[in-house]
């Protein structure tokens, strides 16, 4: 354990986290640009999310008079929990000290912590929208979580470790092996990621229509810097799922040792992978329509089914083979 808890390692981990947090709005900018192009609209600038954030940070905060102190603390908790999640995930390099702090189950726990406060904040002001958003968000999350953990279990049982760095190491050492269990787990995780980050067809991040909104309903009462933190956390969450999928299922290119060339290569690799993933997401979001809320359980059951199939094929086909 102590062999990579070095000062250099901690510094690198800190830098990687900072890069993760600052790059998240860029990813959203890229996604919006792609979507606009696909829909024949003229696209906003790539840096538009940064401008939005900085504007929100400077604006006055308006708080409802029915709000409790929890309302003002929640954005900080949500944002901190999401940043800590980002710190744990290997972005450029594996075996950074932060990766040992938490394994992939704890990571799911961090996201749950953020969601818990998000949902509480939605109910704090006492409007009808907030409660509706919280109820829907928690329902969707509680159905998504088993599917996600099942997919992760498939992975950890293959790699014999629930530590992401060790799992990536294992996969790199294996080389390119086509595993049916991984295909199913990837499918499951993609479906879960769409649901958890509130993208179409589960939720629409650009809607403010009362009947359909989920995430937006919870943050409806926020403004100024509080809103900026909430938005930033949502952007980070999208990037977290992107990096998880990219680096676990396609780990090639990630830096195994911390030399400058390896790190640069890692940066190039993850940029390429995320850009490609965004293309997939943008195409899917353009091609699909949002579904009714009560179709979502069916969708998440499909995700769970995929994850279960992945687990079964792992146990039947791969163990001992």
């Amino acid at each position: 354990m102590a062999d990579y808890l070095t000062l250099q390692g901690w510094l690198l981990a800190l830098l990687q986290t900072a890069l993760f947090v600052t790059a998240a709005p860029l990813l959203v900018g890229w996604l919006r640009l792609l979507k606009a192009r696909l829909q024949n609209r003229s696209a906003p600038a790539l840096t538009q999310p940064y401008r939005d954030l900085s504007k929100l940070f400077r604006k006055e905060v308006i708080v409802a008079d029915t709000a409790s102190p929890l309302f003002r603390a929640a954005p900080y908790v949500v944002f901190s929990a999401t940043v800590v999640t980002a710190a744990v995930i290997p972005l450029l390099a594996v075996h950074l000290p932060t990766a040992a702090i938490a394994d992939v189950i704890v990571l799911v726990g961090f996201l749950a912590l953020a969601r818990f406060f998000l949902a509480l904040a939605g109910m704090d002001v006492g409007t009808a929208f907030g409660g509706m958003g919280s109820s829907r968000e928690m329902t969707i999350a509680s159905l998504a979580e088993p599917a996600m953990l099942m997919a992760i279990f498939t992975l950890t049982m293959t790699a014999q470790s629930s530590n992401i760095s060790h799992a990536i190491d294992f996969l790199l050492a294996q080389g390119l092996v086509l595993r049916p269990s991984f295909m199913f787990a990837l499918l499951a995780l993609l479906l879960v990621a769409v649901a958890e980050t509130g993208r179409i067809p589960v939720d629409n991040p650009t809607t403010h229509l009362e009947l359909t909104m989920v995430h937006e309903a919870m943050i409806l009462e926020y403004s100024g810097r509080h809103l900026a933190l909430m938005e930033w956390a949502a952007q980070l969450k999208l990037m977290i799922y992107g990096v998880l999928i990219a680096n676990i299922f396609f780990p090639w290119g990630i830096a195994v040792e911390s030399t400058p060339t390896a790190l640069l290569l890692g940066l190039a690799a993850i940029t390429g992978k995320l850009m490609l993933l965004c293309v997939v997401l943008a195409v899917a979001e353009t091609a699909l329509a949002k579904m009714r809320l009560f179709r979502v359980p069916g969708y998440l059951n499909l995700a769970f089914l995929f994850a279960l199939l992945g687990m079964l094929s792992h146990v039947i086909l791969e163990v001992g083979a």
């Binding site: 354990m1 006055e60 308006i62 708080v63 409802a64 029915t66 409790s68 102190p69 929890l70 900080y76 908790v77 944002f79 901190s80 800590v84 932060t98 040992a100 702090i101 938490a102 189950i105 704890v106 726990g109 961090f110 749950a112 912590l113 969601r115 818990f116 509480l120 109910m123 002001v125 006492g126 409007t127 009808a128 907030g130 409660g131 509706m132 919280s134 109820s135 928690m138 329902t139 999350a141 509680s142 979580e145 088993p146 599917a147 953990l149 099942m150 279990f153 950890t156 049982m157 014999q160 470790s161 629930s162 060790h166 409806l220 810097r225 009560f294 769970f304 279960l308 687990m311 146990v315």
Partner: protein
């Protein structure tokens, strides 16, 4: 150590006469402290044994405190102490009522003494006596507010089921004693049971202790009995008494029976996961705050039994290291549940005392009116929703890690069953998070829904202090799990010499079940990371100058002011779950359209929803009908004629004489 134990019993005895709550609760607190220190001493030191000059002449009561009983004693002590601090303020409202405070004091003392004696008993005889003491005295506590017919019914149901369970435990001990040739645990431990009889003993113990612990489908008494007792008693029942049942199960299965079988483990695992899932789903539909917490106890007991089942599977398949990992996970969750559930019940007690409302739909906005209770309750909610870095997460994480090690097993079926149950655990945890968002969001956030909720005042200092103590414990057990688990390391050793799992092999910062390469979790560093990010951004945003903040009315879409009735209700919040998991409940939903007589225009809607536990219709009512029918048949014997009765005696006598010749 010995004097401490006898002192404990003495304290228990002296409490009965003390009628004043001023004497009662401090004595209770002392007893709690003594139990906690005693437990801790044994955990870090050696086991203590003695024989009490009590009991029957040829059957002296023997006591023995080893690491396992020390641990449970510690758990009892902590909660009893907190309850003793909470009690004086809480029982103030009973002072001028027509309830007998002395009954409350006497039976609380007996109840606590009974639980402590169960844990230190070293023979089946004393165990059963203490067990009955615990069950009977808690019956009187459940029936405390007996003017309400529903409370009497709940208490009777509790008494009935406690005795059916007690009978099963007694029979289980009977099987063990028959092969061991004595009632002492030592004789039972040495006995070599044939597989069939071991199975019978296990089944009886699982049934009996499972009934007391509230496993589905034997849980029916729990959501009835726990909510109707006074809140500090509910805290004791949910927080501690269920753990005593778990102690009994662990003692009999892991220690006395000793040689485990894989099938038993699978049964325990499956029953545990079904209990966990159904517990949380039923809790989701409750609007009474204490019933909701009682159902959530069923969920947590299910989680504990899942970990125990995993431990049994691993032990039976020759993986003692993983077996003790599961055992530690189960016991750690038991400790954590004791702490946060009693915190939540005490919080619920404070809320009910201040608002005189039991239903979530009549609360709201309480965080602003009860800031201390609200904050501590939030910590309890975060812990029970198993969120890092609080204590519930640490133990659920260990359980999941145990489950992930299912790959080492040889049976392909088990390798699939275990991850599927782990996914059920994940679903349970996620639904649990939703449940406590619902509880906290409806009761403590938003606007007050009734006048009583608007006029809630701060509870007394003792009540706040007790909750604060438990909340701090939640955080400590969550942030420093390695230290706590280090202390628990002696427990597997005391149960037939199982190895100590190397969970804390990397020092106090890390939890590393199996090995650091497989999984690691560092709660202190997580807390540090959260704190640093929070601090950094708070400074960045507030550092330069005072930031503007304006308070206004919330946006009302231009239709005039928002009223509290426009908020989401607890029933509405759970509606999506109700719709998705529909077959789980017996739903009776009626929507009535109210219309004007003249214009037949719709003037209003009346919505009625009744959610019933399916186990009543499927299990309890058929059994009840059957028992009644059997009783009616038997009643034919009783003619009321003295000559008939005399002839019964005569023939019985003849029969007995024939038997002995």
């Amino acid at each position: 150590m010995l004097s401490l134990l006898s002192g404990l019993v003495g304290l228990g005895a002296s409490r009965y006469r003390s009628l004043l709550r001023l004497v009662c609760f401090p004595l209770l607190g002392l007893s709690g402290l003594a139990a906690a220190t005693g437990g801790l001493l044994v955990l870090t030191g050696d086991a203590v044994a003695a024989q009490l000059p009590l009991g029957l002449p040829w059957l002296p009561w023997s006591v023995r405190v080893d690491a396992l009983s020390g641990f449970i004693l510690l758990l009892i002590g902590v909660v009893v102490f907190a309850v003793a601090v909470f009690g004086p303020g809480y029982t103030r409202e009973f002072l001028h009522g027509r309830h007998s405070l002395s009954a409350l004091g006497v039976f609380t003392g007996l109840f606590v003494a009974g639980m402590q004696l169960v844990v230190i008993a070293d023979d089946a005889f004393m165990f059963m006596v203490a067990w009955e003491l615990m069950s009977l005295s808690s019956y009187f506590l459940v029936a405390f507010q007996h003017e309400n017919a529903a409370n009497r019914r709940a208490a009777f149901l509790y008494l009935l089921m406690a005795h059916v369970g007690g009978l099963a435990i007694l029979l289980g001990y009977g099987v063990l004693a028959a092969f061991g040739g004595g009632f002492t645990f030592e004789a039972m431990r040495a006995a070599e049971l044939p597989a069939l009889w071991a199975g019978v003993a296990f089944a009886l113990a699982f049934f009996g202790f499972g009934m007391k612990a509230g496993l589905v489908p034997l849980h029916a008494w729990l959501p009835e009995a726990h909510p109707v007792a006074p809140s500090h008693i509910s805290a004791l029942m949910s927080g501690v008494m269920l753990k005593v049942a778990i102690y009994g199960f662990v003692r009999v299965t892991f220690d006395l029976i000793g040689t485990l079988q894989v099938d038993w483990g699978v049964i325990v695992l499956l029953v545990g996961s079904v209990s966990a899932l159904l517990g949380v789903l039923y809790a989701m539909q409750q609007t009474d705050i204490k019933r909701l917490l009682a159902y959530s106890s069923i969920e947590n007991v299910g989680v504990i039994f899942m970990a125990l089942g995993l431990a049994m599977i691993f032990l039976a398949s020759g993986q003692p290291l993983l077996g003790s990992l599961g055992l530690i996970a189960a016991l750690y969750h038991a400790l954590n549940h004791a702490v946060f559930k009693s915190l939540l019940f005490l919080g619920a007690g404070a809320v009910i005392q201040q608002t005189h409302q039991h239903s979530l739909e009549h609360m709201g906005g309480l965080l602003k009116r009860l800031p201390y209770t609200g904050t501590f309750f939030l910590i309890g909610c975060l812990s029970i929703a198993s969120l890092p870095p609080f204590n519930g997460f640490a133990s659920e994480w260990l359980t999941l890690q145990t489950a992930l090690q299912g790959v080492v097993l040889e049976s392909g079926v088990l390798r699939i069953v275990i991850p599927v149950t782990a996914a059920m655990l994940a679903l349970t945890a996620a639904l649990g998070a939703m449940l406590f968002v619902r509880l906290y969001g409806i009761a403590f956030l938003g606007q007050p829904r009734t006048r009583q909720a608007r006029q809630a005042h701060l509870p007394s200092f003792g009540m706040r202090a007790a909750q604060g103590l438990l909340a701090v414990l939640c955080l400590l057990l969550g942030v420093l799990p390695a230290l706590a688990i280090d202390v628990m390391g002696a427990i597997p050793q005391s149960l037939g010499g199982l190895p100590e799992p190397g969970i804390t092999g990397e020092g106090w910062l890390w939890l590393t079940p199996v090995s650091p390469a497989v999984a690691s979790y560092s709660a202190p560093l997580v807390l540090l990371g959260l704190g640093l990010t929070w601090g950094l951004f708070y400074l960045l945003l507030h550092g330069r100058k005072e930031q503007p903040l304006r308070r206004v009315h919330p946006w009302d879409c231009g239709f005039g002011p928002l009223s509290p009735r426009m908020q989401y209700t607890a029933t509405a919040f759970a509606q999506p779950v109700r719709r998705i998991f529909q077959p789980v409940w017996q739903l009776d939903e009626k929507v009535e359209r109210l219309s004007d007589d003249k214009s037949s225009q719709l003037t209003g809607l009346r919505h009625q929803l009744l959610v019933t536990d399916r186990s009543w219709g499927l299990l309890y009512e058929p059994i009840g009908r059957w028992v009644l029918r059997a009783a009616r048949r038997l009643a034919l014997l009783q003619s009321g004629n003295i000559r008939t009765y005399l002839s019964y005696s005569f023939f019985t006598l003849l029969f007995l004489l024939w038997l002995i010749t």
